[in-house]
């Protein structure tokens, strides 16, 4: 009986908590019917549980939510969330996943144009070509004026450029004799020299 009591004592808590298998439940119930010690123990468990539930464990939670939300507000926004918000905003403008596709394409295009060195080179070249075209157009419509001063100035500038070891003059002529055009690889620039207009 003593050994049985010890064994079943371990099951009293789960019995009280309804955490036993049906056959165990039955076993404990039979035992309780004839063991005062276990019945008293179970009654104490029951009362401990009841008293614990009546203990004043109500914590003062006024302003709790606001304090939590303030702390969350101060958290750094994760990069993934920033991206999600951005794409989510675009996505609202378009049906389905089209927004994400469009946003991705725009982001990729911006990256190619602004970030890659290749794109920067292309941008510079196209700008230079555009400038040359403009100058050539202007020259075509302007009267061909050649002055001695202009020639002197040209010769001085060319000599100055030649003194710089890394300045490579690749072209020092044009269809118009008073205009000099050359490339300056060190500065990644095309120089166009024009005489003063009179």
């Amino acid at each position: 009986m003593m050994a049985e009591t010890d064994h079943l004592s371990l099951m009293l808590g789960p019995f009280e908590d309804r955490e036993l298998e049906p056959h165990e439940y039955q076993e404990v119930a039979f035992h309780l019917a004839r063991c005062e010690q276990c019945t008293a123990e179970l009654a104490d468990y029951t009362q401990i549980g009841r008293e614990l539930r009546t203990l004043n464990l109500e914590l003062p939670l006024e302003g709790f939510k606001e304090a939590v939300m303030q702390r969350i507000e101060n958290l750094p926004v994760p990069f993934t969330l920033r991206l999600r918000r951005m794409f989510g905003g675009i996505g609202e403008l378009f049906p389905s996943n089209l927004g994400i596709a469009v946003a991705s394409a725009v982001a990729a295009a911006i990256t190619v144009i602004l970030v890659t060195p290749y794109a920067q080179t292309v941008t510079n070249r196209s700008g230079t070509s555009h400038e040359i075209a403009r100058v050539e157009r202007d020259l075509a419509t302007a009267p061909a004026v050649t002055t001695q001063n202009a020639r002197t100035e040209l010769a001085r500038d060319v000599a100055q450029v030649e003194e710089e070891p890394q300045a490579v003059i690749s072209k020092l002529e044009s269809d118009i004799p008073s205009v000099a055009v050359w490339n300056e690889p060190r500065m990644d620039t095309t120089v166009i020299w024009l005489p003063d207009q009179q």
């Binding site: 009362q47 003062p60 939670l61 709790f64 939590v68 999600r84």
Partner: protein
Amino acid sequence: MRTPSRQAGDEAELIDRARKGDSEAFGVLVERYQRRVANVAFAVVHNQDDAIELAQETFVRAYENLSKFESRSSFSTWLYRIAANLAIDFWRREGRHVVLRGEDAENELQRLPTEKGDSFKAASRKELSGRLSQALEELTPEHRAVILLREVEGLSYDEISEVLQCPRGTVMSRLHYARNRMRGLLKDLGQDEGG
């Protein structure tokens, strides 16, 4: 009337919105679980201020890690687990036993009942409450957490096992120990009265 399945669906939607950065949706979840999370923390540290601070930290951690939450366990169990982990870590780190709340315990102990009784049932409710608080104080945080999660929060053994991340058998043995320990401490009250 809100059914459990409807609340679960509503909860899933709130979690989804919160994951996308909708703090208002997360606020609803905070309101819904703040008391129980605070109680879980209190079950371990047994100090109001620390429990509230830990409960706040629990929600902040939960918000930061919402992407890691999987629906295998319920959201509440996940929250309780964070709270229990934080509280147990805190308790171990601080290594302190907090003072019993209010003037209660000391005063109550000064005024032990004089009438005879063979069980702690004989003690008045106020005295019993004081002794219960003291008895809880004497338990380790693990044992205190188990008995409060079971008796006050009404968690099943499996849920306690998940929250405290220990086997179900450990939950059962801790609960058995905690109950017997409390019973012994409260029995003293009845025997003191008698002696």
